[in-house]
């Protein structure tokens, strides 16, 4: 019986590992950092677009 209970525990551990890996980072700090990086990238893209528009306008 102990072995079959250990199999159940192994199933639980495997499911936790697989599902959390699929979900990705969920901690608030990691999500905020990801959002900051995204915001930064969008701002840089916007700046480059404006620069190009300025150059084309000249």
């Amino acid at each position: 019986m102990v072995a079959s209970l250990l199999v159940a525990l192994a199933i639980v551990a495997i499911v936790i590992a697989v599902v959390t890996a699929r979900l990705g980072p969920t901690s608030v700090a990691e999500l905020e950092a990801r959002q900051d990086r995204l915001k930064e990238r969008l701002e840089q893209r916007e700046e480059r677009r404006e620069e190009r528009a300025d150059r084309a306008g000249r």
């Binding site: 079959s4 979900l23 969920t26």
Partner: protein, 144 residues
């Protein structure tokens, strides 16, 4: 109640629910295997029918506790929305059916022993409902 659930899950209610529901669905599959051994449908040299049945009971008790926690999180945080359609509506139907059939199974196991012959079909029904409930919520979420 919503704040309690959010506090318990540290703000990650959906993610915690997905993990717990996935554990329960996987263990439900293991339960079917254990009872196939328990009823002698599957004969294995390394697992007898008595330890298989005992493990089925122990794992089943744990499944019921986790299922009640998931149902509580689901109902108190997400609630019932009559306007829902698609997987969310199916999830509500399957989830409610699952709780009903699981309750009947517990009643048959603990008190209504004369209905014991219905335990195998009840068990299979519970397993199928676990899968359908998972597929229409956690499975759908994980698939993106």
């Amino acid at each position: 109640m919503e704040h309690l659930v959010e506090g318990m899950a540290l703000g990650n209610v959906t993610e915690v629910k997905v993990v717990l529901a996935s554990i329960v669905a996987a263990l439900a599959g293991y339960q079917v295997f254990l009872m196939a051994v328990g009823y002698g449908k599957l004969r294995l040299p390394f697992l007898g029918s008595r330890p298989a049945s005992a493990t089925h009971r122990a794992v089943g008790d744990a499944i019921v506790v986790v299922t009640v926690v998931v149902a509580f999180m689901c109902i108190s945080y997400f609630g019932f929305d009559e306007g829902e359609d698609g997987p969310a509506a199916l999830h509500m139907v399957f989830g409610a059916l699952l709780l009903a059939v699981l309750s009947v199974k517990i009643v048959v196991l603990r008190w209504w022993h004369s209905a014991g012959r219905f335990l195998p079909p009840l068990g299979i029904t519970v397993f199928v409902l676990f899968l359908l409930t998972w597929l229409t919520s956690a499975g759908d979420f994980l698939a993106g």
